[in-house]
Symmetry: C2
Subunit: 385 residues, 2 copies
């Protein structure tokens, strides 16, 4: 298997980008990644996107984006895995380079979510759940994650304040990220007293609706060395896994089994464990999701995600910084772009380019991206080679 | 790069399957492929599907299908490239095995198109074209392919009868395929005198709206040998390419440049040329598409696709049999499944299992799958190793 490096990253400021189209924002991020990589060709490309058909009436994004990026006739493939579309697209790019089929591959993620008529975005997002057994009965994602939160509180004694602290921490980090959609800082009281969405989750426990894109360029490590890249950011581990699509089918709804399985694969491939990781980007679509994710990744003991967060263990200066980018909560969550943006953040941290949110001496980082209530998960470990 | 073999195929009878759901038909085809392969595990899987979000309100098909197939927690990824989703998904599976990341990989394709409210299917299909510059102005695929047909007639003298002959030949072949949606034979007069859709194309020049699924299982050639598979059907070549998403951006709208580029890659990889191919499955979404495809694949001279068809060169007993399965026209065109079903047909032909439509002594076959007006194309060459 060919060893793979990330040699270019591209991000744009996320938000309600009403003056730009789906293709505009993808191309903007992609060109920044290509420019950052300093390459004069791309051999193949991927577009991670969940539901451009429902959001903006455009499928066939491989063709669309290759055309508007000006790289026709290269192969261009759209990958969908709900909110894990970006992470899964990155893994497909990784395997293409690893197989030797291509050398320089662009992986971008994109979603345009704010141009949809009233109710449309919630409907589109709900297509990531089980339409026949969940959505048909009236539940959408805030309700599903609220049930996970309640179960976690009942089983482990996780408190409302601990949930809120996830949001407070991520907004603290996001306030230092120029690309973040919501850069304001929050207090625990603000989170707790915000508009209730699905008890116990208020609107400040929920990641927002966002327009955004992100992109990376990868190539063989050997080629990156010849190009003189310094440092070499190597993809050390990759894992992907699935779980039941419906939440009610699981033995334990507080546990993200697909994340655990994917992480185990990634740790094995990288030859490391949770204690060897310097920083982590996790999929905090809701505050409870971050708590469940750090437990499934083995960064804290099962059931201890809440207290660890409250103690500051996951803060920027804590034992294991989580979501230094601001996470989905503050940075925003354009679903197809999120997994790729996580790779961008980890890469920039390993290069020492994260400015006020830099984790000092970071040599190895992990990104965890999931779809639905974690019916799909992708975990990647990047390290300075 | 690990050498890859197709060791299992699964098809179901296509049609208006109103008593079965999207997940039902996918699982049915997948189980047949797994059974045919005789494997007791699958390491990873792919779902080729164009627009389940718009057709049935369900995205996240990787998670859904892994769950309903009972293979959780393996990685499961949905790939979309409009009507080329199946061929592109097959290529992703191929690269996963080729990279060494997984050994036994299932690739399925599926689309459920008949349960949509009036107008919905045409709207969903049109999202494969350029929404901003084509669909917004009122053109859908029959109109786009009609323009290609008119241009081909003007430039090369292709006749109405030659177009009709594509449909007649494919229905002749499809009448011998138990899985085909429309098994009736047709005459040139019937095709010409059918209801006009977009001049010169009548409804019998157009592939139908179909519910269907197909699946294959692949693994390393070495593993297939150890399992005692006979014959070994090896994936000798793979190519994928893109073109402008909008038809009006092309220099020559009669030429499928993405197909030509993808085919060139596949021929090179396989070390063969057009004259070494014993049978071909091409993407005849409209009769003109088959004529353009056989030209782009180099099977006939540019502009000679019509006369070659009329002379019987592409018939079952002709110089180069094209669409022995009945093609999209007769077999049906559940868009995400089509590319995978092409691989099923070529594999069965190479195994000598195609009964009344068997091409005698077939040792090497090619499958060409395309999205939109060929803004994306995937070409695969399979051979008896």
């Amino acid at each position: 298997m060919v060893d793979v490096a990330v040699i270019g990253v591209g991000m744009i400021e996320w938000g309600e980008l009403w003056q730009k189209s789906l293709r505009d924002i993808f191309v903007e991020a992609a060109l920044k990644a290509i420019d950052d990589a300093g390459v004069d060709r791309v051999d193949s490309m991927y577009v991670g996107c969940m539901s451009s058909g429902l959001f903006v009436g455009q499928e066939h994004l491989g063709g669309v984006m290759a055309d508007y990026l000006g790289v026709v006739p290269i192969p261009s493939t759209r990958v969908e895995s709900a909110c894990a579309s970006g992470g899964v697209a990155f893994r497909q790019g990784l395997m293409e380079v690893a197989s030797g089929m291509s050398e320089i591959v662009l992986v971008g993620g994109v979603e345009k979510m704010t141009d949809v008529d009233g109710g449309g975005a919630t409907y589109a997002l709900a297509t990531a759940a089980d339409q026949e057994y969940e959505v048909y009965n009236g539940v959408t994602f805030p309700g599903l994650y609220a049930m996970m939160a309640r179960a976690h509180m009942d089983k482990y004694g996780t408190t409302r304040d601990q949930l809120a602290q996830v949001s407070v921490k991520n907004h603290e980090n996001g306030s230092k990220n120029p690309y973040a959609q919501y850069k304001m800082k929050l207090t625990v009281d603000q989170v707790k007293n915000a508009v209730m969405v699905a008890d116990p989750l208020t609107i400040l426990d929920c990641s927002p609706i966002t327009d955004g894109a992100a992109a990376v360029v990868i190539c063989p490590v050997e080629m990156a060395r010849k190009m003189g890249k310094q440092p070499i950011v190597r993809v050390a581990g990759s894992g992907q896994a699935s779980d039941t699509i419906a939440l009610h089918q699981r033995k334990d709804i507080t546990y993200l089994s697909a994340t655990e399985v994917a992480a185990k694969k990634a740790y094995e491939m990288a030859g490391v464990g949770p204690s060897d990781i310097d920083l982590v980007e996790v999929h905090d679509c809701f505050t409870i999701a971050e708590i469940c994710a750090i437990e499934a990744l083995g960064l804290v003991e099962k059931g201890k995600g809440g207290p660890a967060t409250a103690k500051g263990e996951t803060a920027l200066d804590g034992r294991i910084p989580v979501n230094t980018s601001g996470g989905l909560k503050s940075k925003g969550h354009p679903v197809g772009a999120t997994g790729v943006a996580q790779i961008v953040e980890v890469t920039e941290q390993l290069r020492g380019e994260s400015g006020p949110r830099q984790v000092k001496g970071a040599k190895r980082g992990l990104a965890q991206n999931m779809g639905g209530t974690c019916a799909s998960a992708a975990v990647h470990i990047l390290e300075v080679a």
